[in-house]
Amino acid sequence: MIIEAGHFALVLALMVALVQVVIPLWGATTGRRVLMDVAEPAALMQFVLVAISFAALLNAYITSDFSVLTVAENSHSTKPMMYKISGLWGNHEGSMLLWVLILTIYGAAVALFGAGLPPAFRARVLSVHAMIGVGFILFILLTSNPFLRISPAPPDGQGMNPVLQDPGLAFHPPFLYLGYVGFSMAFSFAVAALLEGRVDPAWARWVRPWTLLAWCALTAGICLGSFWAYYELGWGGWWAWDPVENASFMPWLSGTALLHSAIVVEKRDTLKSWTIFLALLTFALSLVGTFLVRSGVLTSVHAFASDPERGAFILLLLGLVIGGSLVLYAIRAPILTPTGQFAPVSREGALVLNNLLLATATVTVFLGTLYPLFLDAINGPKVSVGAPYYMATFVPLMVPLLVAMAAGPLLTWKRGDLPGIAARLRVPFGVSVAIMVGTSLMAGGKSALASIGIGLAAWVFLGTMQDLAGRVRLFQGPFSDTLRRLGALPRASWGMTIAHAGVAITLAGMTVSTGWSAEGIQVMKPGDQVVVAGDIWHFDSTAPVSGSNWKGMQAQFSVSDGGARPFTVLTPSRRTYSLQQMTLAKVAIHTNHLANWYVVVGDPQPQGGWIVRIYWHPLAPWIWYGFLIMAAGGAVSLSDRRLRIGAPVRRPVVASGKSHAAA
């Protein structure tokens, strides 16, 4: 009964969304406030209804109601509670419902906190937002209904892939969707602005917090996913350029570009149509990402394309959103005239360069991800595109981006002083080059790429710190003055500094852990020991272990650096999940935040012992710390009061080229 109520609530939500599409837009067009004001209650109503629907499905998962088809297919009574809950979004149908729930949360947030927006604009935003809602709720109801019953109900469910039964992955999709769907706000604001035919600095201020929020969530989501791959899949890597990973990386790249170009619109009232385009593109990539992972297109292009319901609907939805918004863009974008002018060497110029490089990088990832699918669809040869492709395309594009990243924030708006910047960056440049040369000599000329990477990381970090030091006039006056300036620095400026430092930290982690890692693969029995990167790994013992839905063995390794006592004891295990008859190797990791000691126990050998894979990954933890620092930087920037208090003021006359305080 509850499940039917949930189904019914979703149908009602569709009706409310339809009302929210039509009435406010009509009101905005005819200038009737009463009709515009329908948008807010409708958005809240839509949220409440979808939340009821979601709660009903969640209840079915928690109580293990196997008369519901998706529950029977994806859950099991012996699963720990956390994975019963995460099982909801561990499949196509449930994840689509989570998507719509997050969509309506954003809609409700605009209704609640959007009081400062002009009424007609707010009505248009919410109307466009509801259009997305209508599309997705229809998609769920017609092709991916999670509320279908199965009769007779099976005695127990089929369970969830054990690889997915992990805390990291339990929270990965909600974060990812918070990011994907968050870009729908940028999309709705962009389409509403196109409908109004007006983009100005105030618009950029409204869009920026939503984009920042989405970007932070997506950054955290990608971080979780990458960390999950590192410790759960047991191959010692953190990024495989798998289409599933690229699906979340593409909107992140273009979202990053959008964040930066929105600054130019806000500060300088230029780059408007490009920013609008990026907003449309980022959401389009979010949609592509959602469907790429969820629709089965990666498993079989042909099964997907010949699926009359789901495949056709997805293509139709993508076509409507992307095609529709691009047509509108083509008609309306030419009337968005820029007012601010700038020289090529200026803050704006640097941000344009950032955007060009990020957009181009997005294109290369897009091609690499979709080209094999395209070839497959036209019955061409079967190919795969792996890390070497991205090393040859994506990485070279990142190098100039990182080089420019240290200098960009130092440039002034409108017209920058390149010799002056060069003088200020002398020390960071010298130190980075020294680090590059030093590490390359230390490594004896091998892994040149790692030396370049660590040099670039130092460059970005020191350049960012130089910028901060310049802003607070470190060593240029009394120290109290520096402290005062430090306190007065806007949050947005702090956010930028923190996020850029995060990039440097991630970059250092990536390059050092790739270039200077050590690994040992060997057959080991209890009592054996092996030396990896100077550390002695001793295989102490094995013991049986079990969990609620698995049984297995746990090995114990003591790791010492030659001293009398081991500095850590690691217990990797092998778990056999009884339901799926599937064995998983659970990795054990010791970290001192500078390096990871990583061990995974593989197959048992006929002559006794196990294959044991041991890694030493220097600076690997920094990869994820850097990502979290980036997300934290975004959050700090989000808390800037300017975005909340100054935001609603839309100037009657389009802002002139007056420069605001640099931030």
């Binding site: 690889v163 079989s300 690499g368 792996g386 593989g602 002559q607």
Partner: protein
């Protein structure tokens, strides 16, 4: 700096970016695209030794052998008509089994055996990698009950389903 001149600069920089990217992509597609072969295709028209390829099929029953007590392993991949020797050193994926579908990435050596650098098994026990399905279909060894299980697992693409 006139607006026209500024726009010209931006267009030029944009063009340069695109041109560089196109060059990089084409070059990478030329070198780094990994083509998929079935054992029959390797037997009929072997790719150049040393070039990275992927092969897929079933692990032949009884063909898996350890090399001298170390972590090295050799096995045969078959599509029912032809088979191909594969050598691999390292930890096998948890789902590697005789009679199951497998995709191996590596390069052929001079003797025509594949020296695998990676064994892919990003799937559960029911799921057949799509390349393997295609290879088996081509050699006429495809059975419909496998199709059913392959479709059942389609909801978990790549194992790293969200």
């Amino acid at each position: 700096m006139t607006r026209k001149r500024r726009r010209l600069y931006m267009v030029v920089v944009g063009m340069v970016c695109l041109a560089v990217a196109t060059g990089l992509v084409l070059n990478a597609f030329n070198q780094d695209l990994v083509f998929f072969y079935s054992p029959s295709e390797v037997a009929k028209k072997p790719p150049v030794a040393g070039r990275m390829i992927r092969i897929g099929g079933l692990v032949e029953m009884g063909s898996v052998k350890r090399v001298g007590g170390g972590p090295g392993i050799v096995f045969k991949v078959t599509d029912g008509k032809f088979d191909l020797n594969v050598a691999y050193t390292g930890v096998l994926p948890d789902l590697f089994r005789e009679g199951q579908g497998v995709v191996a990435e590596g390069a052929l050596d001079q003797s025509g055996a594949l020296v695998a650098s990676q064994i892919l098994a990003k799937h559960d026990e029911k799921y057949m990698p799509p390349e393997v399905v295609a290879a088996l279909k081509k050699s006429g060894q495809w059975r419909e009950n496998e199709a059913a299980s392959a479709n059942a697992a389609a909801a978990l693409p790549g194992g790293k389903s969200l």
